[in-house]
Amino acid sequence: MSTSWGRGEANGGRFTWNEKTLGAAMSLIETRTERMVLNLGPHHPSMHGVMHLVVTMNGENIEDCQPIIGYLHRGIEKMAESRSFIQFLTYANRWDYAATMLQESLTAMAWEKLADVPVPRRAQYIRVIMLELSRISSHLLWLGPFMADLGANTPLFYIFRERELVYDLFEAVTGSRLMHNYHRIGGVAADITYGWVDKCRDFCDYFLPKVDEYETLITNNPIFRRRVEGLGVVSQEEAISWGMSGPMLRASGVQWDLRKVDHYSIYDEVEFDVPWDTRGDVFARYVVRIQEMRESTKIIRQCLDQLPGGSFENLEAQRLLGGPKSEWNAPDYQFISKKPAPNFKLPAGEIYVRVESAKGELGAYLIGDGGQTPWRFKVRPPDFVNLGLIAQMVSGSKLADLMAILGSVDMIMGSVDR
């Protein structure tokens, strides 16, 4: 990339004199002020990893902003081309390390759809519970750092208090707290454990009052409201034409949720609302995400109630009682349809699958050529697309607003750069 980040407009790396820059230069002479080019990142406390923003500033005002990404590029898509599903799954966890289950689920769904592998209903319910827990944990890990960006450090500790419990739930089932490696082609690696359903219900009961607690602390705080209201506004048309998805899109007044639109998995069997807002500012995104945590809890509760076979202890007892011919051994009550061979071969063909991730539309384009490894595996990360409008959103605002806007996008650089 050839760049000239000198004074003036950093216009895609080319410095061009147009009316705007010329006019600005004229006013420069008048006021005798110089613009300052500030390199925010890649090592900066609130760049959420290794984002790099080249910001042209006039005093405290941002005139131009040029995002530079790629510092965390690990070539995960290329790695997929030399790995079988089970080998690749560990990488899938590591795109977006705040919401790990969602990537796993997407990867598993891609392989399943292409190879046409059925998934038992019990496995699907377990998956949805895990996905929603993952969504909650992702939103929590958004809320804390977002508030820290605004200068309130205490919510960061509160969200980790709750997030630890989500980790505990994951750990009880998958054996690991962050990088679960739990999904398999045709189901999940292991059934939920003894007592887990009760534990998860306890978490739901505990979690909802805590969300209210966040709202008490944050939502009506006058300083918070003044910092975020009317800031970083994205209109409905812009959001759609820039391909935004998830809370960013819904906060701009589009009621679009893939869980409702695509009817994938068992989301049609549970009742939940899609939170949305028409204001399109940073505050709207906050409201949408807080509300989504409540809706996710609602989904988890329903899934726990409707789980085919019920809790693990119930299922085991029924199976013992019924003997080898028990109806509880039916395919619907399995956690995996048929354990796939390690050298599971992908059929030739191509498919695009997408799930509603915590950050938006998480998609994967998978091309198989009959071998054990995919011919091509392309990821569509939601935060990468959502970040596209950042330069336009921040221009004209103050430096402190940049952090609020950037925080409200909710990006994980591991997912943006892959």
Binding site: M36, L38, H44, P45, S46, E60, M147, A148, D149, L150, G151, A152, N153, T154, F157, Y158, R161, L217, N221, I223, F224, R226, R227, K398, L399, A400, D401, L402, M403
Partner: protein
């Protein structure tokens, strides 16, 4: 009303009694208050740091420091030792002179101000007749140091931080001075001792904060501006860590950083003491000392009672100012940071007019109701 313990006279008498000429004895006395101030302020800062860490930890459901000393009490000392032995780095392209003077210029006014802080009738280093003015004047030296630090660091974040510090201090000095002025009008004197004494004629009732309307308005204006002057959250814009990394502290390490850190907490404690002196009746107990002596049935000039009264004065002053330190910590760990334009708006468009109106009201009230508002 200048009876009571006069430490200086007693000290000089003690030494002259031992055979020293009076001039020499006075010379021996001179450095003592300075040493006492240094020691007291440093201990107060360590206590404030410890208190902040523990309270913040409580608010965040953590334990906080708990290894060094009892309940982490000595953590601040250990941190200080660490900062002292740390390498002192001056960036190659920094201006070494300004870079060194900056932190000193921030720290010294904070310590100087303690000269006029009274802990009791005679427990004050120097009873300047312009004590209150001295406090306000010293407050405007520190931003120059911050600006120096920010400019000389040769770092864009530091420069922005220094500029913010200057803008913020200038904007909030005026409402601060206005609210202090209304107290001065009610007192009729600029001496800190006189300010406190005027508040203790009827015990708690004559504290400035309980003066109808003007007392409360002035108090709130003072609290907000003092919090902004100490540059602590939610007004910690000069060192807003999510935007400016550490503001004008960014390039500092070792002892120079420790000076900034010390100055921040010294200013916090100083602001709390000022609030105590100006609005909460300083060392005054809830009832006047004379009434207390009457209740206990002892003579006001009884030496034991004098000692007790002095001790009570110190304890009361410390307790009252602890309330304000606690308030500042509570605010810091609860509220998000304001934006620079909102900060300046609050200062110029809200606090300044309110402070002005309050000042005029105070003057009018003093003329109309001299009995309540300190007129003659």
């Amino acid at each position: 009303m200048n009876q009571g313990i006069d430490l200086q006279r007693s000290f000089v008498e003690l030494l002259t009694g031992a055979g020293l000429p009076q001039e020499v004895a006075r010379a021996f006395w001179l450095p003592l208050p300075m040493v006492v101030i240094l020691a007291v302020v440093t201990v107060a800062v360590l206590l404030a740091i410890w208190g902040e860490r523990k309270w913040a930890a409580d608010m965040q459901q953590r334990i906080g420091p708990n290894i060094v000393g009892m309940a982490g009490f000595l953590q601040g000392v250990v941190d200080a030792i660490k900062l002292i032995v740390k390498e002192d780095i001056i960036p190659r392209k920094a201006d070494p002179w300004l870079f060194t003077i900056g932190p000193i210029l921030v720290l010294i006014p904070a310590f100087f101000a303690y000269l006029v802080v009274p802990f009791g009738q005679n427990l004050i280093i120097s009873d300047l007749t312009i004590g209150v003015f001295f406090l306000v004047a010293l407050g405007s030296v520190a931003p120059i140091g911050a600006l120096m630090a920010g400019y000389s660091s040769n770092n864009k974040y530091a420069l922005l931080g220094g500029l913010r510090a200057a803008a913020q201090s200038i904007s909030y000095e005026i409402p601060l001075a206005l609210s202090v002025l209304s107290v001065v009008i009610m007192t009729g004197s600029l001496s800190t001792i006189a300010v406190v004494e005027a508040q203790n004629t009827y015990g708690m009732l004559s504290w400035n904060v309980f003066k109808p309307i003007v007392g409360q308005v002035g108090f709130v204006v003072f609290l907000i501006s003092a919090l902004a002057e100490t540059e602590r959250a939610p007004f910690d814009l000069p060192e807003a860590e999510s935007e400016l990394v550490q503001g004008h502290h960014t390039e500092y390490s070792g002892m120079k950083f420790a000076l900034f850190y010390l100055a921040e907490y010294a200013n916090l404690v100083l602001g709390s003491l000022m609030a105590t002196i100006l609005f909460l009746g300083g060392w005054g107990f809830f009832v006047p000392v004379e009434t207390l002596a009457g209740w206990l049935g002892v003579d006001l000039l009884n030496p034991v009672f004098q000692l007790f009264a002095a001790f009570l004065g110190i304890v009361i002053t410390v307790l009252k100012s602890t309330i304000f330190v606690f308030l500042a910590i509570l605010a810091r760990w609860t509220l998000p940071r304001v934006r620079i334009d909102q900060l300046l708006d609050l200062g110029w468009k809200f606090l300044l007019p309110i402070g002005l109106v309050n000042l005029l009201l105070t003057a009018a009230f003093r003329l109309a109701f001299p009995g309540i508002f300190g007129g003659v």
